[in-house]
Symmetry: D2
Subunit: 161 residues, 4 copies
């Protein structure tokens, strides 16, 4: 049975949540196609980036079933994914074009539950050295409550050609 | 146009990688249905857990396109997700049934690239207190190279009924 | 031979740096006597605290030979001591009088060399919960260069009577 | 009044604890003179190092009034100093003689009170790369209780000549 048929069969008996998630998965594949996101996880999370002045990056994601743990709260690993993505994207913006930035460490403090309609991550620069960048990231709910705070180190390396 | 038709249309012109990812998405939904995973992200990552003796938990995931960053390397956020899941699952095993464990902080050192066929995370206990558990997690490639090391704190709270 | 005689004999042949350190040690003991510091390490470091508005604490220390590692740079452990002291002192200010705050974890990023005449640590609140406080600390040189950034968790417990 | 006289006057009216601390300060200066320690803080803490096989370092310190916070417990900053010293000393042993290792970050989990007669820190290697070393450190009481766990990153740089 081909893949389209398998999806079709699955969807016939799918619950409402399963249909919602199936729809998010399709949307995710289309986000990659259209260049809105460069990675599957970024597309699954529906990440939208916006550079702010000075040296600040904001990333926003809608809250969906895909992101939640078994208690219907934003999964701590996906909070980490959002923070790493935001700090890393900002790091890449701050270095020369022939360089890449790789995360060498990240520490996250989880301080409130991730619930609501969307989450916003704000990344800033703590230190900009010639070999190492240290970044800060904060994740907020729509009610402006801070849910997580992170610091991370990004090592500057030559870009592979 | 209904969702099954949308999937069908998408798949007609899909690339091989898109078809592979679409197949992983369908498999993920089925993993939830069959109870193999309790969360979408766990199902998307294909997480399999196994308790070891004493006080050790192992989680294994296959390497797929879904997990990779733009350099085809395991995304640091998903490494974090695997570590948080493994340490958190072990934490839940170590506390009374009427309690829950929530991550209050996690720090990860990324030490090698995540490439290969699968990744194995091993979680251990550093400290077991009455209010706080401190756990250690390590992620290995199939060639046994350590790719990430984490420590995390888990706060023990009453379970919501 | 009694202690005063031992000090006297030591000082006769002491180098200039040894005399300077001996003088700092005597001053440290007097700082405890006069109530300027509550701990020997705080007195040895010559810590001075000042509360700022709102929810901010500043601690300043002079740079002395006592604080330096073998490269004549502020020892990373003493940077940590300053950060833990500042964040902890601020934590105590934010909780009820019948409670105490204990550090459960602290992470420090060292970003520049600690040199100069004095160091200033600024502590702020990241999150104030009923059971846990998360604090941020930054250490600056006199030329305003950031040398270290820290985040730490402080658990609120009943004070022993 | 010269320094020896000042010490003499102070000691006449000193309490037993002040005399004990004054004695530790004199001993610390002598530890530097005799080459037992290379830094004042190492001498004040009475640090003794011993290399173990393979890639392990042990540091032991006696518990003295100098090390304690206002609750008579090992100060968290001095626990950090011991951990940084042990991990850093091991890092130096693992790199070529023309290189130096500098701490770029350290995270500590404090899990039990530091009380007893002495403290032992055991440092191990988590990852040995060409540019970065990641180390682990643990501090134990004499009753073998773990009181703190740390991980730290050490950047390998050319040694200044």
């Amino acid at each position: 049975m081909d893949l389209a048929q398998q999806w079709s069969e699955f969807l016939i008996e799918a619950t409402e949540e399963e249909r919602e998630v199936a729809s998010l998965y399709l949307e995710s594949l289309k986000r990659i196609q259209s260049g809105k996101n460069g990675t599957h996880i970024g597309a699954l999370m529906g990440i939208k980036s916006e550079f702010q002045e000075p040296d600040t990056l904001t990333m926003t994601i809608p809250n969906t079933a895909i992101l939640q743990n078994s208690l219907d709260i934003l999964h701590g690993g996906l909070t980490a994914t959002l923070l790493d993505s935001a700090m890393g994207t900002l790091a890449f913006k701050l270095i020369p074009e022939d360089k890449a930035a790789v995360t060498t460490e990240m520490k996250i403090n989880y301080v409130a539950k991730g619930v609501g309609n969307e989450f916003t991550c704000v990344a800033n620069v703590i230190h900009k050295g010639s070999k190492l960048l240290v970044m800060e990231g904060k994740v907020f709910r729509d009610d402006q409550t801070l849910i997580a705070h992170a610091t991370g180190s990004f090592f500057i390396i030559p870009k592979r050609v």
